[in-house]
Symmetry: C2
Subunit: 334 residues, 2 copies
DNA sequence: TTGCACAATGGCAACGTTAACATTTGGGCG
DNA sequence: CGCCCAAATGTTAACGTTGCCATTGTGCAA
């Protein structure tokens, strides 16, 4: 039984149902101009033969793929999972699929992502930028291929979307200042990180906006170890009552570093982070941090492409603010 | 300038280069039977017109999409990022693309994943199973669609691949026994988790194989909080010198729980976990754990589909063992 | 009875690519 | 000089689908 057929096409179904190919097509699309009984006959034939529409034929005919490509230079990045959840959710909503591609970052250019995508069955593409591509200023998207960049930087020809990496710092700093802290120390990150630099600017400018000269920052490397060292270094600074770390791992490391020097959090020093990435890993603390909605970032990007669906919509830039999550690592001095 | 053309096809390129469509096609595929100077002329025409091959036409002609579909019930799962890295790497190697789909798990069946995929341009599919699908026993893959399941269970019709969730427990338990511990206490996980149950079996059976009756286990819920509680509960048990937690978050929670009761790790009690998921988050500890190679799991799955490439290869089952990573949370009693 | 509108269905062509086969050209060799 | 081979290029058809237009059938008003 069931010899492995090549593949079942409308023609086969049409023959079996005793109708024309066109009627089969109409049945597939549930056109109202097919008699219900005919439809049922066709459906029966489809079931019997195990017919499923061929994507290639359809796309060829329609000139659309109903697919959005996602290009990543680095798949294993913080937040990518949530972003993908967003891509998938939005794609689903529009009846689109997601095609994932890893682009090797040598060179790290938008052009390389774009040309990689150009050979794939996609109607538009999303590029997740972690660093600054060499050709950011000069890049032009492929004609007819709507391109969305996930970055805080604005681009003249591509829509962009990202978490608001400046505003998260503003939120944290103001939260600490409101609670009576005279200044906020900062644990930064490697200088090549775009988002990290923006967080740093947010910290600095918010302090200045409140008439406070930012203290010297400590440069970390995203790891808890570097936060630990920073915590130990700051433990002896009597002016330091509040520390803001540019990610949660460093914040947690900092807490442990302070504790190793006999300081208590939050009694002696308050600590806050960004990213809400500790999840269920740390048992005895609820870190005060900022939660980003990466899923929403992902959805926005795909919505932009799948939602337009032909009606070419203009270039937009979207920054999605995070939400400050109150934990138990900040003391109210008022 | 540059009016938005419909799209550039071989025909346009052929006309401009003054050759036949076939010669263009041959040039695209770098066939040796085209004179170099002709090739150059064609390439110039392609550049001038901005030609890029149409995926739909190509797939239609070839009957292949060069794409592997990945179906996930739950995108935000531990290890998914590394697995995707593996999917992407293997796909790249074979010149394939990856199409990602979220399947809503109501009902949680392989059939729903399969029918979702059937409408997409894919040659084969990978399903990431977290739980037991209702139709696991009865499921048959779509004809012509090679299907690989990411699970430890074996399936008669689909190849399967996963981390070896039994062996990781064996490794940890034997590591602890070798170091002089008389028994190993266990912090388990919710009973619905397939992999968690297998880890539990590994713990139990390895102890029995060494003639040790397993002590009563403590059921956790994957979170550090539950590990914390377990640690506190075990702190007063004098027979407890070694604890194995079925993930790292619980292991770390357990350490903190023990410490909260005045016990030191590893001086008083040794603790080990599985997953190597703490990464850079915990500053002052290097947990003894088992590192899985999820990237390799992902690569194996896609290799299986893209590697066969027509020559239908048989059903295989692959378990990839993890590697025990020595940290500083286990004491050698010898 | 004829004419007409409308519902249901069929025929044909085209989307872009490429495998298979056909044709042309040039060169070497008897 | 004619023959044959190989290299280079061209022609045709087909992959599966669906938009457009044509055809058939049915009921109803004139």
């Amino acid at each position: 039984m069931a010899a492995v057929k090549k593949s079942v096409s409308v023609k086969d179904v049409a023959r079996l149902a005793g109708v024309s190919e066109q009627t089969v097509s109409r049945t597939v699309h549930d056109s109202p101009s097919v008699r219900p009984e005919t439809k049922e006959r066709v459906r029966a034939a489809m079931r019997e033969l195990g017919y499923r529409p061929n994507f290639a034929g359809r796309s060829l005919r329609r000139g659309k793929f109903k697919t959005v490509g996602v290009a990543m230079f680095n798949i294993t990045g913080t937040g990518n999972l949530d972003r993908m959840e967003g891509f998938a959710a939005a794609a689903d909503k529009h009846g689109y699929a997601i095609t994932l591609t890893k682009v090797d970052g040598h060179p790290y250019t938008l052009e390389s992502a774009s040309s990689r995508m150009s050979a794939l069955p996609v109607d538009g593409m999303v590029v997740i930028m972690n660093r600054m591509p060499a050709d950011f200023g000069t890049f032009e998207p492929l004609p007819g291929m709507q391109t969305v960049l996930v970055t805080m930087l604005e681009h003249p020809l591509c829509s962009t979307v990202d978490n608001d990496q400046f505003d998260c710092s503003r939120q944290v700093v103001e939260y600490l200042l409101e609670r009576g802290h005279k200044t906020v120390h900062f644990i930064s990150c490697p200088e090549r990180s775009l988002s990290g630099m923006r967080r740093e600017e947010g910290w600095r400018e918010t302090l200045r906006a409140h008439g406070i000269e930012p203290p010297r920052l400590i440069r970390g490397d995203w790891t808890a170890q570097s936060g630990y060292a920073a915590g130990q270094a700051l433990a002896d600074d009597p002016t330091c009552t509040a520390i803001y770390a540019s990610n949660d791992a460093m914040a947690y490391g900092c807490i442990r570093g302070l504790e190793s020097r006999g300081k208590c959090v939050p009694q002696d020093v308050s600590v806050a982070g960004v990213d809400d990435s500790l999840g269920d890993i740390v048992p005895d603390r609820r870190l005060t941090t900022v939660r980003f909605d990466n899923k929403r970032v992902g959805m926005w990007a795909v919505d932009k492409i799948a939602g337009a669906d032909g009606g070419a919509s203009g270039v937009e830039h979207m920054l999605i603010p995070g939400v400050l999550v109150e934990g138990d690592t900040v003391r109210d001095l008022r």
